[in-house]
Amino acid sequence: MTMRHKISSLLKRLCQILWQPLIAVILGFLLGSVVIMISGESPSHVYTQMFQKSFFSFYYLLQTLTRAVPITICSMGIIVAWRAGYINLGVEGQMIVGGLVSTVIAIHTSAPAFLVLILAIAGGMAAGALYALFAAFIYQKCNVSIVISTLMMNYIANYIASYFVTFPLKDPKSGIAVQSVEIPVDVRIPRVFEGHTFNWGFFITILIVAAVYFVIGKTIFGYESKMTGLNPVFANYGGVKKNNVMMSAMAFSGALAACAGMLEIFGVKYRYIDAMFISTSYAWTGLMSGLISSLHPVGAFAASIFLSGLQVGGQAIQRTTNIPLQVSTLIQSTITLFVSVKLFTDFKHRKKQKVEAGDIINGN
C-alpha cells in the first residue's frame, strides 16, 4: 500500500467513525438553541460566550484541561470494564475510596516525600481496585448484577468518606466546611503556571490514556476482555477464563478510577472535601465520553476535553447571561443520547443483514 492510499483509507475510516458523534453534537446544540431562544437570549451570542470561555481563551482553556483530567481517567476506567462486558457504574465510589485512602496516607505517613507519594499512589489504587473487586466478588458468589452493586456502592463510599472527614479526619481550622487536613506541600503535583490550577496531572493523564490504549489494543488481556465482551461463549470456547477476565478488568477499572480521584486531590484541591466527586459528577461525564467514543480510549480523551469545555463554558454563561448551567448539561446529555441510540448505524446494519441473509440461505 502506498502512503497516499494509507492516508486516504485512514481519512475514510476517520470519517466513518466521526460522522455519527458529529451529527449528535449538531443535534445537541440545535436543541440547546431552542431552549436558549425560549429563555429569550440569542443562541449565537450564548454559544460564542460559551466557547470563548472554555476553549478560545488561555485562562479558560487551562481550566477546561484541568477539569478534563478526572473525567478522562474515569472514562478510561469505564472503558476497560465495559469492553469486557461489565458495566462499572461505581467509578464514582472507587474514586472516593481511592482518593480518601491516598489522602490519609499522604497526611499520616512521615517519610521522604518521594516515598510518601509512591505509598499514596499504590495504596489509593489498591483501595479503588479492591472496592471494584468486591462488586465482582458478590456477582460471583451471590449473582448480584454488577451494574446494581457498583451503583449502590457509590453511596456507601460517599457516606463512609463523609463520616471520616466529619469526625476523625476533619480539619479543625476549617470551621463548618467538612473537609480533611491539607496534604503536605511536598507531595502535591506541581502546577505548570503560577496562579492557575492547571498542573502536571494533565500530562500524567496523557500517559494513562496511552497506557490504556496499549493495554486494550495490544495485550492478551485486552484481546481476551474484548472477546469476552463481544461473545462470552466464543471466548470460553477459546480457553479464555471468564472469571480471570472479569477480576482483572474490574480491578483495573477501579484502580484507574482511584487515579482520577488522586490526581484531583493531589493536583487541584490538596484535600478530601466532603462529596467533592459527587457534586462535580466527573464519573458520569466520563461515562458519557466513553459512550460518545464507543469505548475508544483516544476518542474518549477528546470527548472528555470537549465535555469538560461545555461544563466550564456553561458555568461561564451562567455568570454573564441569564442562561443557567443546566443548558450545557442538556446539550451534553442530548449528544450522549443521540450517540448511544446508534440510530443511524443500526439502520445501515439492518439493511446489510438483509443482503447477507441471501448468502446464508443459498447453502440450504
Binding site: K218, T219, I220, F221, G222, Y223, E224, K226, M227, L230, N231, V233, F234, A235, N236, Y237, G238, G239, V240, K241, K352, V355, E356, G358, D359, I360, I361, N362, G363, N364
Partner: protein, 507 residues
C-alpha cells in the same frame, strides 16, 4: 391444481445459482415431499414460495392466477403458511398468545381478548386433533409441543398450503411419529402439505409424491408408491452413498478414549449414560444421531466446556482430560470446530484477525510477555485464509460480514491449522454451499492422512456415511451401536438412531 411453480430460478448476487428453472405443482389435499441434500436448493425454493426471497426468473400460480409475493405477510394472505425449522415463538408467552400473535382477537378494537384467544386455540386444536394446553408457557413446553404450537399458528392464519421445513430435525422418534400422523390428518382435511426433508423414510411414510432436487435443479418428480428408498437416495445424491474416493489408510494407535462417561443434563435427566468411544490416529469416527441425543454434551465433556461430568474417564494420548481447563485440553492437542459458528465459533463483531487468533493468543508464536504481535498474526492469517479459500476483503472486516460458508471455512482453517492430535468437527458443513462442503470434506480427509484422529458429529447422515471409517450411533445419551464403514448403511443407522437394535450385531 392448487399451486404451480413454473421455471423458478434464483441467482444470488454473489453468483450462486440456488435454483435453476425448477417447476412442480401441488394438488389439494396432497402431501408433496421435496428432498435433496444440504445445498440442493430446497430451502431457497420454499423461501421464494413464502415470500422471503424473490425469484430472478419464473412464475408462481395459485388456482391458476399468477402471484408474486413481496413478503411472508403477502404469502400468508394467499393461504401459504410455513412451519419454520427454528421456531419463531416467544418463550415467555403462552401457547394461545403465541398462536394468535400478529392477528389477535380484540375487544373494543383496542384490548387483547385473552379469553377469546384461548377459546379459539382450543377449538382449532379439537378440529385438527392437535391438543395443547393454551395457557402453558412456551418455555415450559417440550420441543414437540412447541412445534405443535407453530402448526396451530399456521392453521390459525387460515393457511391452505402448509410448508414444513425439516420438521423432524429436532424431534425425538416418538415425536416424529406424532408429527407424521398430524401431517396425514391435515391432508385428509383438505390442507395441502409441502414437506422439505432429507429423511427418506419419512417421505415414504407420508408423502403422495416426491420432488427430488440436486444442485439447485429439479431431478425428478415421482409417486412414492412407484419408488423405494434406495432409488430415491440414488437420485438425491447422484452417486453411490459411500464415496470410494477416500483413500484407505492403516489406522494408528488410540488417541482419544472415552470410557463409561456419564453426565447429568439440564433438567436432571441424564444427558450421557455410560458412553464409551475411542478414536485412533488416521481414523475418522462419526457420531450419528438425531440432534439433541447427547452429541453436544459428549463434545463439551471432551473439550472441557462442561464441568458437570458425573462419572467416567476421558484420556487423550493417555493423558487424563477430566478436570482440565479448556485451554489445557487445547494445549494437550485438541482442536474443535463447534456446531454453531455464530454463537460459539466466532464473535460476529470482532474482526477476522481477532476471530482467527482465538485460542492462539497465548502461544509464544503470537505473543510475548502478554503483548500480542498483531503484525505477525496478520501476515500469517492472510496466508492461512487464502490457503483455505476464504473470500474476504480485509482482515479488518468483521466476522459477521462474511457469508456463512466463508465464516465456516475460516473456523475450519483456524482449527485444522493447529495440526492437533485430535480434531473434533461438529456439523462442519451445516448451511454451507456445495463447493465449500467439498472443500471442507477434503481438508478433513487430508488431516486424516496427516495422522490426526478425527471425531465427526453431524446430523447429516450422508456426511457421516461419506467420511467416517467407523460410526457410533447415539440415542438418548447412550451409544446405541457401532458400525464399520464397509457395513454401514443408512437403514441400519436409522434403526439405531431411533432406539432400535440390529438383529445380527453389525460391529
Amino acid at each position: 391444481m392448487l399451486l404451480q411453480m413454473k421455471n423458478i430460478s434464483k441467482l444470488y448476487k454473489n453468483g450462486v445459482l440456488a435454483n435453476d428453472s425448477v417447476s412442480f405443482d401441488l394438488n389439494e389435499g396432497e402431501i408433496l415431499a421435496i428432498v435433496g441434500e444440504n445445498g440442493a436448493g430446497k430451502t431457497t425454493i420454499m423461501k421464494i414460495l413464502y415470500g422471503l426471497e424473490h425469484p430472478t426468473g419464473g412464475e408462481i400460480f395459485i388456482n391458476g392466477k399468477t402471484c408474486a409475493f413481496k413478503n411472508p405477510q403477502d404469502a400468508m394472505a394467499h393461504g401459504i403458511g410455513m412451519v419454520q425449522q427454528n421456531f419463531m415463538l416467544l418463550p415467555t408467552f403462552s401457547i394461545a398468545e403465541n398462536v394468535v400473535f400478529g392477528s389477535e382477537p380484540r375487544c373494543f378494537r383496542l384490548f387483547f381478548d385473552r379469553k377469546k384467544a384461548v377459546k379459539e386455540v382450543i377449538e382449532l386444536g379439537e378440529r385438527y386433533g392437535l391438543k395443547a394446553d393454551p395457557n402453558l408457557l412456551i418455555k415450559n413446553c417440550a420441543v414437540g409441543l412447541q412445534q405443535r404450537c407453530e402448526i396451530l399458528k399456521v392453521l390459525y392464519q387460515n393457511a391452505n398450503i402448509i410448508i414444513f421445513d425439516e420438521p423432524s430435525a429436532v424431534l425425538t422418534p416418538q415425536e416424529v411419529d406424532g408429527l407424521l400422523n398430524t401431517i396425514r390428518s391435515l391432508a385428509k382435511m383438505g390442507k395441502s402439505i409441502i414437506l422439505i426433508t432429507h429423511k427418506l423414510n419419512e417421505v415414504m411414510a407420508v408423502a403422495d409424491r416426491c420432488v427430488v432436487m440436486r444442485g439447485g435443479r429439479l431431478i425428478d418428480t415421482v409417486k412414492t408408491s412407484d419408488t423405494y428408498i434406495q432409488e430415491l437416495s440414488a437420485k438425491m445424491v447422484g452417486r453411490k452413498l459411500i464415496d470410494k474416493s477416500i483413500p484407505e489408510v492403516e489406522k494408528g494407535a488410540v488417541v482419544l478414549s472415552v470410557e463409561h462417561l456419564s453426565q447429568k443434563g439440564k433438567d436432571g435427566i441424564q444427558a450421557l449414560r455410560d458412553c464409551s468411544i475411542n478414536v485412533h490416529a488416521r481414523e475418522i469416527v462419526g457420531i450419528a444421531g438425531v440432534s439433541g441425543n447427547g452429541q453436544t454434551e459428549l463434545l463439551h465433556a471432551i473439550t472441557g466446556l462442561s464441568k458437570d461430568i458425573s462419572g467416567g474417564k476421558i484420556t487423550l494420548d493417555g493423558q487424563n482430560l477430566i478436570g482440565l481447563t479448556v485451554r489445557q485440553i487445547r494445549e494437550a492437542g485438541c482442536a474443535y470446530v463447534p456446531e454453531d459458528r455464530n454463537t460459539m465459533g466466532a464473535a460476529l463483531q470482532s474482526n477476522l484477525t481477532e476471530t482467527t487468533l482465538m485460542a492462539r493468543q497465548y502461544e509464544t508464536e503470537y505473543s510475548k510477555n502478554g503483548v500480542i504481535n498483531y503484525m505477525k498474526a496478520n501476515q500469517q492469517f492472510d496466508a492461512l485464509l487464502n490457503r483455505y479459500d476464504v473470500k474476504y476483503s480485509s482482515l479488518n472486516q468483521r466476522a459477521g460480514e462474511l457469508s456463512g460458508g466463508n465464516l465456516q471455512k475460516l473456523i475450519v482453517a483456524r482449527e485444522i491449522s493447529r495440526n492437533a492430535k485430535l480434531l473434533i468437527v461438529a456439523e462442519p458443513t451445516r448451511g454451507v454451499d456445495i463447493g465449500a462442503m467439498e472443500f471442507i470434506h477434503n481438508q478433513i480427509i487430508e488431516q486424516r492422512s496427516a495422522g490426526a484422529a478425527i471425531l465427526l458429529i453431524s446430523s447429516d447422515l450422508n456426511e457421516i456415511l461419506k467420511l467416517s471409517d467407523r460410526i457410533y450411533v447415539m440415542y438418548e445419551g447412550v451409544i446405541n451401536g457401532e458400525l464399520l464403514r464397509a457395513k454401514a448403511n443408512s437403514e441400519d443407522i436409522g434403526i439405531l438412531m431411533t432406539g432400535g437394535e440390529l438383529r445380527d450385531n453389525a460391529s
